[in-house]
Symmetry: D2
Subunit: 265 residues, 4 copies
């Protein structure tokens, strides 16, 4: 075998009866860390701090599902309605997590990262940089990503994510910049176009130093439990090959109920 054919991987070492994930024995991780900590470890290569673990949990919880209207849900249900296996329908849903659906997290991270970099280089305030960037986008007739939502005007997920980030001390210059852009937009167009959940997650992934190229992965990981549940519901409650119109649905699940938390989680 030629030498150059050997290729390297730094994720998991697999030996008979022994598995090392980023150096840790998987059987030692099991029972000792949460799934969200394992996700962070797998992707980043290091365990999260306690605060980062809480932040990641909140981020993933925020995006597990958003009902039947997102394209990922409709693609998955449409495929499921043809009798396709669970994994096939879920994969179809993931194919729809693209530029305009979930993709704003990556775009938003790039905008925020660049803005913070320019702020430092140019020795300006966040507000000044935000004004410059908004002007540039306006001139190019482009929309800034991570702002506005087709349903929510005041997305409860954004508010809570920023509150948790603030409580944990994770919110820093990236969150500040995202908010400066939000304020700047309002000044520029005369109405609020609030940071949406994509924009909020983007700012927080910047704070935890994830590369923008992985942003889409967080949305996929979060939403996959929702997709699985929608596919299962489609197969167990609906007739195959039905015409699926997202606007004609009705929620008949649990009415609103209060969360009762016993002790720390």
């Amino acid at each position: 075998m030629k030498k150059e054919e050997i290729w390297k991987t730094a994720i998991t070492k697999v030996e008979p009866n022994k598995l090392l994930l980023r150096g840790y024995r998987i059987d030692e991780l099991m029972g000792n860390i949460t799934f969200a900590q394992a996700i962070f470890l797998t992707i980043k290569g290091e365990l999260p701090s306690e605060k980062e673990a809480k932040m990641i949990d909140a981020m993933l919880v925020s995006s597990v599902d958003h009902g039947v209207t997102p394209p990922s849900c409709l693609a998955a249900r449409t495929i499921a309605s043809t009798g396709a296996p669970l994994n096939t329908a879920v994969a179809g849903g993931i194919l729809a997590i693209s530029k305009y659906h979930g993709g704003a997290i990556e775009d938003s991270m790039k905008v925020i990262k660049e803005a913070v970099m320019r702020k430092k280089e140019m020795n300006k305030t966040g507000t000044e940089i935000a004004t410059i960037i908004i002007k540039e986008y306006k001139e190019k007739n482009k929309r800034l990503p991570g702002l506005g939502h087709r349903i929510h005007t005041k997305d409860p997920r954004t508010i809570k994510l920023f509150q948790i980030a603030s409580d944990l001390g994770i919110a820093g210059e990236y969150v500040e910049m995202a908010k400066a852009i939000e304020v700047g937009i309002e000044k520029s167009i005369g109405r609020r176009l609030p940071i949406n959940v994509d924009g909020a997650i983007a700012a927080l992934l910047c704070e935890m130093d994830f590369p923008p190229e992985l942003a889409n992965g967080f949305f996929i990981m979060a939403r996959i439990s929702g997709l699985i549940t929608h596919v299962y519901e489609e197969r167990t409650r609906m007739k195959p090959m039905r015409y699926i119109n997202s606007k004609d649905h009705e929620y008949d699940g649990m009415p609103e109920r209060k969360l009762i938390i016993k002790g720390a989680n």
Copy 2:
């Protein structure tokens, strides 16, 4: 609009600025429950008990990654090597989580569930039922699912999963039956064919009353962080369009290290 076109969903209620997941406000869940608890809630419709939450965490952690040899990883890396976007490559990996790769969880759940049912109906011991089932499979020249592994003879994940299940008091008649089958197989073929991680997860999903049709979903949810990381590694460390031979790889990541846990997680 005709009445019959209205269709029902019981997962998430979406209103402007308000999201109810299975009845709970998502912004109330955020910061208060873990991602694994949210997954359980999304799929099952109810929050897990504290013990179930720990069990689900351990199950998902056990399967986040298994290195570069699984077909899901190779499919994802092969697609990534052509320059495809992250979501596309990950979806390709999920397409490979099928009958012979992950699929054993579902098959195994069906075998264990049926065995426990027959045990009750026929008023026999687990050992007796296991003997009957093994004989039936032998006669049909079929292999029982969830046993044996192409790499591990004593899978550390199985051992740890059963230990945690036992500590939490979750291991019951289904785990017992899975073990009865393992013992029966050894008697029948004269050598150990130990329960693999698929078989162990199958028994535990039975204990927590999940339908077998969702089994594959747990494997997909767990493995997706691994797939995302492999795709990212492929894109950042490897040349596009390389010939990927899974046998020619070498691990160059973190050497083995000890997990240090500060306090309860």
Copy 3:
């Protein structure tokens, strides 16, 4: 390298500057055979007869597109509307070509093949065997595949396929059996449930001795040009992230026009 690692393929021999498809030089095939002939050669290993080539062409032409309502089209358009690349959206459409959408061709082939086999073994007429099979399905409360359509009561594609098959001398015992089942069903349930395009293609694939396991492949090959065109139309005529309701569309293409054929093709 261990001997057993060498694996065999009989489709294409690739050498530097030379490509043999099933033994023929690809550059010799180019310009001398049609795409449909090349498809037949690739799959079957031998070139079709002139009559088979015409039959395959007609089959593939019959299924290139069926407008916006099929799930494969809706899945592809839904994914395309998120800004996904062409290949991703098309692959999503193919994921929907499953059990209830296209899958009837394979099921139907199995029914027709078994019926013809039983006819020979039991030395009965097609009508007698059809009656037996219809009774068996009725008792199991199962529907025979390849009959009826949610839009067409007299599918023009079926009529034309059978006419061409008859003209070419390709229609034989399998087509006869499909028709015997259609007649038997009408007698049994008191109304016509005509052979649909899936059932017709199934009978013709039996006549040309294709394995049922490949049936779905013919539908995929035919429909892919339709899927590509729908994805392109979605991207060039529609706004991203729109709500796609298949019932709310209107055809604004070419009005009906007559085909003018100059000479034989």
Copy 4:
């Protein structure tokens, strides 16, 4: 229902018992046009001329398969080896037809189209424009697409495509430009980097006035019969879950044979 929800499609008009593809009755097309003509009609909206039909046939035939090494084939086989359905494995293969695999057709079309446009605008010769473009790419340290192949130094498919295009009178300014770039590259780097099959198809799609955004679709349509055949071969000749190393294969199909054409096709 609000007016604005009505959306338009110009591909296929579906009425009960009547199907119009781009204005033509599908049952009238069947038996009268070839599959390749139907593909052209579906995508372009008009039937091809006789010459264009021959050109499209040759293009599609050239790319039906390229053995087991392309990533699309390996992704499809890897997925098939897990027991996934045919459509799932084929879709996985299509996910790999991306930037570096097939994607060169689109990139190449853009380069050639722009070059021809600049040639006209700047009133220069093809050779002059080629020299300018090669210099620009060199300065940006970028590779021109559609040139060179990891296996073929003199791709027989390119030679034949250009010969057929020349015989049919289809080769015009775009083919000329592609060749000018090929010559210019040789002058610039001192060795031949011949136009590959992607580059040749690109030039011909330009000649027939297809948009670059559809280029990938032609490769997908051509290769899908190959993917289907590889998936079928994997499932019928190989063991599930085998380690697939593309370099360890051996061709055991038909030895080279001569094509015998009876009359014109």
